[in-house]
Amino acid sequence: MIQASQSGLKKNRMDWALLLAVLVLITIGTIAVFSSVAVLPQQARIIRTQLIAIPFGLTAFLIAWSLNYQIYQDQWKYVYGVILLSLVAVLMFGVVDKGARSWFRLPFFSVQPSEFARIGLILVLANFLDKRIGKIRELQTVLGAFALCLPVFLLLIKQPDFSAILLTFPVVLIMLFAAGASVFHLGIIVGYAFISALFPILWTIITLNPELLDSALISYFFHLSDSWLSAGLFVLAVGAAAWGMWRVSVKFYANVTGIYFVGAAVVLMLGFFSGVMVKNQMKEYQQKRLEVFLSPEADPRGAGYNLLQARIAIGSGGILGRGVFSGTQSRLGFVPERHTDFILAVVGEELGFWGMMLVNGLYVLLIGRIMQGARLARDRFGYLVNCGIFGMFLVYFGMNFGMLLGLTPVAGVPLPLLSYGGSNLVATLAAIGIAQSVYARRYALT
């Protein structure tokens, strides 16, 4: 620290570049939200919520920034408890909106606890990884991290809020990766997740192309999940195949540890079971989204139509845009969810290419500054917290942009700071405040 002050480094307590990026993004977002809701019936409520959320969010930012982040490490048990309690409470007292019981209704606004739970989980996980850093290359640590997340995931499934899981899972992976976990272990996890996702996808593909059922093998595969007997037989067959392959490799004196075969079989089986579970748990609209991703032409008036209209909106903006409050696609209601998940369509239409590039650039700046905070953090916990927040923004950024530009599936992911959503804005600003707290205390002992 002495060294730092001697070398003339400025000890900024505040990362002004990050703050500027945040404020500009909020401004663009607010304008876009106002423009897009101009013709909606719930216009007044949305504008009111947005105007309440901004000061709330900035306050949360300031508090999180001024608070020493190390407090979260000390009090991680309370943080974890509050997360779980709020998620349990929302299942008991929350209200249902869009098919999910994930809202607390308060007199003036609603609160979505899962938004805050995600940040809490990052803090708890950072603490866990910080403590276990010596054993980070062991599988138990990786599994332990996921075990820590499991209650949260289960509560989210119960709501059900799949997109929250979809957003949190990569963040956990990124944190583990940044903490130095074995790539092989992460591979196992990814493989497991991949297989869990693969089975529902394969089944959906078969549903979309019924002629494939003519083949007896595919037909058998399709009906695997119908009865426990066939599912059990499949699992036994997988186990037998793994054992057989291990025996064969022994016969040929191949120096392969048996654990790989066991691991592969276990991952395959677990993935299969999760897949069956996911498939049976999937809501109809989620099934639809998956179908649209796999074949966008199948339902021109459904989710594919939405995506197409959003793309038309972005494309029609051209280089300079059609001017604020003059986008026809978004204002006349052709773009769905235009004030939340598809807010970029409004930006693209009204502000054009330069507006999109501004958002794109500001996001890269924002992510870069959070990462800079991680790099400069004075302790490992701070580093891990910032990595988690960095991962969260990266996932949001990638998925929202990717969805709009037709590169990833339509997942119902908002773009923080731009999309309308009070809880999301407050939680996002609080997260940035925490990241700032790490940055601000890079040299300090307290």
């Binding site: 010596g134 038309i312 494309g315 026809t328 990266l394």
Partner: protein, 627 residues
């Protein structure tokens, strides 16, 4: 740094991931917003606008004396656009309210409105509203927003069937029209277009540019605001060479004739302008304006009389062919015009007796008399002398077997009869064929248009002009778009003496021969009657004629064919006379007035009220000539 046991390079890897994503998004945005912006802009525009097209008034069609033969008149349509979220009962109530003044079926209206609401497309509920209904509907407009009355232009033919074969008619598109025009932005599924005649040939010029009301709608088709009300551009006006009075005279005459069927073609011998053009039976083109297809517009059980007698009807020319024979006789040099032939009423060709049309016989007949009395025996005898090949040659020179080239579809070219075509068919030519050829019977066929071309050539000294009927096309901004031009097709070269003799003969046809009914005071008339033998029924009557005033170049030549009119003299001659009189009347009246004025100035003291009706009116040019 503090011992954190953490691999910084992993952070760099994640950082690269973020940069990579931003780069990919940039490239994709360039593709969407820079390279394909106009494409997406177009789709966005289509998304938000809906158009209620308003048909532009078609160009008008005028006669040469500027009588409107086809115009447009305003027509009011009741449209509905799904402007508001409506509930079922509201729509039902509205449909009931509209149905009463319209006198339309409530169920049909209701269905149309429901369909429009579910498809989010405006619909025309009624077209061509009468003014009294409009009044009660405009009251409803205030009560039920979403219905509106728009004005459109509708084709109207003031004279009905008048000139119908030339003008044609318009109607709704059928599948074939649509296939060829679906990409044309000026046409929509319910536009109307020319189906026949001028309306079809000059569709592009007559069409104009449709206007429209451009509405901005939201994603549910709800009306947001009116973007623009684009005014139409009317189509170009076409001025025909048709003389409306002559046309009216021809139509009236033919209609009143024995059969009411036939054709009249009047041409201007100076340049080939079509002055009158009638084909009967005809039809009223107004019938088709509102209907989809020809069949819908016609009364039940009727077929459209699309057959154009003037161009497509091929008839034996009968005695009018004697004009060609006469030219052949004189040009051959083997028949001196003063030579007489004695006509006992028949001619003995050896194997067969050929009759003259007048059984009593004409006695001694020379060329002029032969033509004037149309004596068959004279032509039997002299025709053999001149030879069948000579007659055939002149038949071809007078453009038999060739179309006139008028800009109308499916014209027939008649048939040339003679040794040439016979030889081509590897058959024999007999004396009897020569006799038939000479008097225009046998296999010779002529269309009324060809007959008109023939008499026109006689009138102007052998020039065949391509007949044309469009004098000029004037765009709606007054700019001259097209000007009809005279075009010479061919000439028939005859000696001056031949022309003089033929004309003398044709003059005596009117003055003392078969065509005396054509006489008009103050006009020198030339003509030839004809009777075309018709094995299926009564003979067809022909009359070809032209007229001059004061030895000026002839201004009108006319061919009349009355189907089953029997004798040319009784059926066809009065029609031709009426046509010629209608064309020359203004000139005659002017001459008369001038003469009267001269008289009154010459004798101020004792003014004579009117010029005495004499065979020759002293007209101004005549006086000049005398001086």
């Amino acid at each position: 740094m503090i011992d954190r046991q953490i691999p910084q390079e992993r952070l760099e890897l994640l950082w690269v991931l973020a940069y990579g994503a931003a780069l990919v998004f940039t490239l994709r945005l360039v593709n969407l917003q820079v390279l394909n912006a106009s494409h997406y802009r177009e789709i966005a525009e289509k998304n938000r606008t809906q158009v209620i097209a308003q048909a532009a008034p078609r160009g008008r069609i005028f006669s040469s004396d500027e009588v409107a033969l086809a115009t447009s008149k305003p027509s009011f349509s009741l449209i509905y656009f799904p402007s508001q979220e409506r509930t079922g009962p509201e729509i039902d109530r509205m449909a009931r309210a509209i149905a009463r003044p319209l006198g339309a079926d409530y169920e049909d209206l209701r269905k149309a409105i429901y369909k429009s609401t579910s498809r989010e497309k405006p619909v025309r509920l009624a077209e061509n509203l009468p003014s009294n209904i409009m009044l009660s509907l405009s009251e409803l407009k205030a009560v039920y927003p979403g219905i509106d009355i728009i004005v459109e232009a509708r084709r109207y033919y003031p004279f009905g069937a008048y000139l119908s074969h030339l003008i044609g008619y318009i109607g709704k598109m059928d599948a074939r029209d649509w296939a060829s025009r679906s990409k044309d932005k000026d046409y929509s599924m319910d536009s109307r277009l020319g189906k026949a005649g001028l309306e079809k040939m000059y569709e592009r010029e007559l069409k104009g540019k449709d206007g429209g009301i451009y509405l901005e709608v939201d994603s549910r088709g709800k009306l947001n605001r009116v973007l623009e009300s684009r005014k139409w551009t009317p189509g170009a006006d076409i001025f025909l060479t048709i003389n409306s009075k002559a046309q009216a005279a021809a139509e009236e005459g033919l209609e009143k004739s024995i059969s009411g069927k036939g054709a009249v073609v009047a041409l201007d011998p100076r340049d080939g302008k079509v002055l009158a053009f009638v084909s009967m039976p005809d039809y009223d083109p107004n019938m088709f304006v509102l209907s989809g297809s020809e069949k819908e517009g016609l009364p039940a059980g009727k077929t459209l009389p699309e057959f154009n007698v003037a161009l497509q009807g091929s008839y034996p020319p009968g005695s009018i062919f004697k004009i060609i024979t006469a030219a052949a006789l004189l040009e051959s040099g083997r028949v001196p015009p003063q030579d007489t032939v004695r006509c006992p009423g028949y001619y003995d060709a050896g194997s067969r007796i050929f009759k003259c049309w007048d059984k009593k016989g004409h006695g001694p007949v020379d060329f002029i008399n032969g033509l004037a009395k149309s004596c068959d025996v004279y032509f039997y005898v002299t025709g053999q002398r001149a030879g069948a090949l000579t007659i055939e040659k002149y038949a071809r020179a007078f453009r038999l077997g060739k179309t006139s080239g008028i800009a109308l579809p499916d014209e027939k070219s008649g048939n040339v009869f003679g040794p040439g075509p016979r030889a081509a068919k590897k058959s024999y030519w007999f004396i009897g064929d020569t006799l038939n050829l000479a008097i225009g019977q046998g296999e010779t066929l002529m269309t009324p248009m060809q007959a008109a071309m023939m008499i026109t050539a006689v009138a102007n000294g052998g020039v065949f002009y391509r007949p044309y009927y469009v004098d000029r096309i004037v765009k709606s901004d007054g700019q001259l778009f097209y000007k009809g031009k005279s075009e010479t097709l061919s000439r028939v070269e005859l000696k001056d003496t031949t022309w003089t003799l033929i004309r003398d003969g044709l003059r005596s046809v009117v003055s003392e021969g078969t065509g005396q009914a054509a006489k008009i005071q103050g006009v020198e008339m030339f003509g030839k009657t004809g009777t075309a033998q018709n094995p299926q029924g009564k003979d067809h009557a022909w009359f070809v004629s032209y007229a001059t005033v004061n030895n000026e170049p002839s201004k009108v030549a006319v061919a009349v064919l009355v189907e089953h009119g029997e004798h040319g003299a009784s059926a066809a001659v009065p029609i031709a006379r009426a046509v010629i009189e209608a064309i020359l009347r203004p000139e005659l009246d002017a001459a008369k007035a001038a003469a009267a004025a001269q008289k009154s100035t010459a004798a101020v003291v004792s003014p004579v009220p009117a010029a005495p009706a004499g065979p020759r009116l002293p007209a101004m040019p005549a006086v000049k000539e005398a001086l």
